[in-house]
Amino acid sequence: MQTDPNGPNPKKSKDSPSNSANTESTQSPSPFPDEVLEKVLSFLNSDKDRSSVSLVCKDWYNAERWTRTKLFIGNCYSVSPEIVARRFTKIKSVTLKGKPRFSDFNLVPQNWGADVHYWLLMFANVYPFLEELRLKRMTISDESLELLATSFPGFRALSLMSCDGFSTDGLKAIATHCRSLTELDIQDVDMDDFCGGWLSCFPEDFGSLEVLNFATLDSEVNFDALERLVSQCKSLRVLKVNKTITLDQLQRLLLRAPQLMELGTGSFQQELLPGQFGDLGIAFSNCKNLRTLSGLWEVASIYFPVLYVACASLTFLNLNYTALRSDEFGSLLAHCPNLRRLWVLDTVEDKGLEAVGSSCPLLEELRVFPADPYDQHLRRGVTESGFVAVSRGCRKLHYVLYFCWQMTNAAVATIVQNCPNFTHFRLCIMNPGRPDYLTNEPMDEAFGAVVKNCTKLQRLSMSGLLTDLTFEYIGKYAKNLETLSVAFAGSSDRGMQCVLEGCPKLRKLEIRDCPFGNAALLSGLEKYETMRSLWMSSCNVTINACQRLAREMPRLNVEVMKDKESDDSRADKVYVYRSVAGPRRDAPPFVLTL
């Protein structure tokens, strides 16, 4: 959409009195009526565009805020419900993200915050036409789910990713009351699963679901209720069941929903009679629109042939909970030539990754997860050779998440030469602080190669033995970097300073167990206001320095959590984020707000 402040008609604006110098003054009339401006702006969907538009002039700010229907808040504490309610009046869809990402790894204590309830109270008041709520790393109680289910008659889509605080009782409320529900998507949550009865709470004639994902839940659901639901929801395109669903049950579901585009299976290992095996194959083959396959809990690879027909058109194969050997993985992969995204466990080893390189030339994203991340004595899984093999065969690779025990600078240099288009490069060498295992040198040159070659790099996670040199490279070359994760790396304050000074697009910086201290923290004073947040834990920062940061930058919230065992001056965990809402009022006692 055009956002040229001089208006879509250049000829008109030349003669119009609102040309050039006075476009920002409220005294000169807008070249066209408000209704037209609003109509035009209502086509804008991207948040970035809308932000730009709102900065043009007061008229445009108002037109934008009256036409915005989708709200995205990347840090729930950066703004308050009151501020949001004052500015926007027609919100139908909300995305809220809460806790810092390191809470995924138990670095943030329970009851830290990010409770959605206060937001829901405001929404119930101001946005009665709310249709969608998407939460990530937020706490949501059963009471909140009940409030949600009963306050918005048109509510359609609920997505909970990495959330906690609720139970299947809350899901019962959603199933019971949300008559127009099209989406229920529960992923990676920490919830109390009392029983699968929530699924039976959908009304008998209910038929509007398009997305149903309960793979995360443990309890068995009533299969008849599920089967009825699936046959009545004719627009169902995403179905991800949990591991209690057996193969023959899956077959019955597939018969009812051949239109599925994304399928998450249940258990894949039941003993089938030959007839059942054939039926299952037919059921899969009938799903002509299947593009995504996941689940595959407890796999017996002898059943893979039932998938082969469907695999031909798969673009996303998610095997990250399936422990496969390289040979069985290779056989499956041979039937998946159109894969764009692949998630896999490292049990497939380097040989399996070689198969990826040869079978999947269109691959854009690869994630290799560790099956045994804590047993460093075993040290199986994948090595640098697997990664290199993939890079040779999959030149379009631009997103990688790779867990391994060993890596070399040379291998990474080869990889990024083969694939210079990386936008997301996340390498986790699982033993902290490991050097190049062949040369015994730091891994500086590896990440140097990444930032030099991959000019589009947006996200980087580093590991291995790293000195300040790595950070110098990042500051010098990573001009598009937005997210950086650092652990057990760096030699001095200079490392962090290089990044803060050199990366203009940096939005999220998360650091743990690095020798960065007060000088490093304070070198980013103004920088932090241009970023979403900074996390620093187990570094060398003191409370005094944090207090100084808080004093000098009033629009930053500076929060400190202390380990009781450390001395009083240490700031063990620091979380800094910009906010227009001031310090948060719900901070628990163990969070010091400075």
């Binding site: 790894f105 329970q110 443990d218 422990a323």
Partner: protein
Amino acid sequence: MKKKRCFEETFEEINNVQVPRTLPLLDHIDLCEEEDGVVGWPPINSWRKKICHHHHHHNSRRGCTNPTNYVTVKNGCGGGSRSNSMYVKVKMEGVGIARKVDLSRHHSYQTLIDTLMAMFVNEKVQGYKLAYQDKEGDWLLAGDMPWGTFINSVQRLKLLRNGN
């Protein structure tokens, strides 16, 4: 560099350390962790930890044809721990990063010490002593009492370098 101390002096220092009996922050931290190593490392989320745990304990032959038997964890604990796991913090003198070890996986001092040595293999320790803090808050040398008594009493572990 610190003047080298003989073991008795070192041990005396530990006995004199005033350590608070309760650790409120630690109480908040979810101790349902599957790790023998560094807290929150490798960076995998708790959902994946649940699965890894089951891989480790039910599928001893990696890559075997028998599918793993997942034991569904029907509790509300975030990390999905087994109910009998027993994690205690381990600190090695002079090392910044504390680790955690699951004592329920051990049945003797020897296996425990082997594991601890593997954990701190980078530290190149010549000799060490293992000390533990008991329920009364006192620091004692490990090894004197039977394993079962030790297990019931230990709150934290500390590895002390030998003076030599």
